[in-house]
Symmetry: C2
Subunit: 209 residues, 2 copies
């Protein structure tokens, strides 16, 4: 049994941390990582995280030598270099940047959905700004429409960095915006996600109920 | 003279776009890119950008084949594979993830400074939330303290992905928070930046006065 020589600072509710958990699972590296669950928000940072990542953000991956890697994209890149299977981030060629751009679209959904969460959950209600909330939601809708096209043209068949990021973004929308009902509007994406969300890596990293 | 076979959608005020401009300059690729200046904000997106990047964000790099790459990290990675000089993003080895983690700290400064800008410039004044503003500013301070240590231990001597990101972050702080006076508190970082900001790549990409 491999020794746990890394520590992942994470939260089960963090979709950026979930991307890392999914890649660890998909590449057989989960047994090498100790999971350290932290509570934090932008207005109540965690001392344990700050000591390792001054930005105060998770996921952060502490290596055996004491160095800490962050943020999620850097950690994903690192972990994808640590296994001997087919890389989940293409190493070179046009496909590398195509898949990374698609992953960045998924991250944009997460950024927007998290800003909506901060606005509606953290910020006092009398300070909410509907224009901001609508603009973030519009961004999510635009990206979902593009992802529908990607699903429709078979671009999500490989469960690589792009598909992992998209699956985690959709999982986060279901978690924080269960009323969104995106499946009716984006049926090909819904059909793809119905299958992707049943992978062991996705089932094992589901956000809390 | 090389033909301009790529188009960079950018704004002179965007620090994420500036990172791309600096890398283009440092690697001799500026002549290959047409610059397309766009006006946008999260609440007033640009149709020209959305048509190429549904997330609506800049920088976005349109390639000769019509594909568009985004966001800044993906573009930087792509462009660093397109020149024959020493890579500005180490391709492998422990240094790769060390430098990328340092670059991600600089991006965290940018994210925080931009959220502060949105809060104080875009959002109606009666909806400002001081707790949020303070938390973002605290994050900037924590990262600056870490960057002071990095400067003090000679980690910024190579003008690579980490140094480019840090220089653009400091340039953005000077642009949007001229009152911050970080130089007195972080003298080694200030001394490093005094020199770095005089590079041709930094002088040529300065934000508007």
């Amino acid at each position: 049994m491999p020794s746990k020589n890394m520590t992942l600072f994470y939260s089960p509710a963090s979709p950026f941390a979930r991307k890392v958990l999914v890649l660890l699972h998909e590449t057989g590296q989960l047994p090498t990582v100790e999971l350290f669950d932290v509570q934090l928000s932008p207005v109540s940072p965690s001392g344990e995280v700050i000591a390792r990542n001054p930005a105060g953000k998770i996921p952060a991956l502490e290596l055996a030598n004491g160095d800490t890697l962050h943020d999620s994209r850097v950690i994903l890149d690192y972990l994808d270099h640590q296994h001997s299977g087919e890389p989940l981030i293409p190493r070179d060629g046009a496909n590398r940047w195509k898949r990374l751009s698609l992953a960045s679209l998924a991250d944009a959904v997460l950024d927007a959905a998290i800003l909506i969460r901060y606005e509606t959950f953290l910020r006092p209600e009398d300070l909410h700004w509907p224009t901001w909330l609508n603009a973030q939601q519009d961004k999510i809708e635009r990206v979902l429409a593009e992802l529908e096209t990607q699903a429709d043209t078979g671009q999500l068949q490989c469960f690589d960095i792009a598909s992992i990021s998209i699956a985690c973004a959709l999982g986060y929308l279901d978690f924080r915006q269960p009323q969104l009902d995106w499946r009716n509007r984006f049926p090909r994406l819904a059909s793809w996600y119905a299958e992707a969300s049943q992978r062991g890596s996705m089932l094992d990293s589901q956000p809390p109920a």
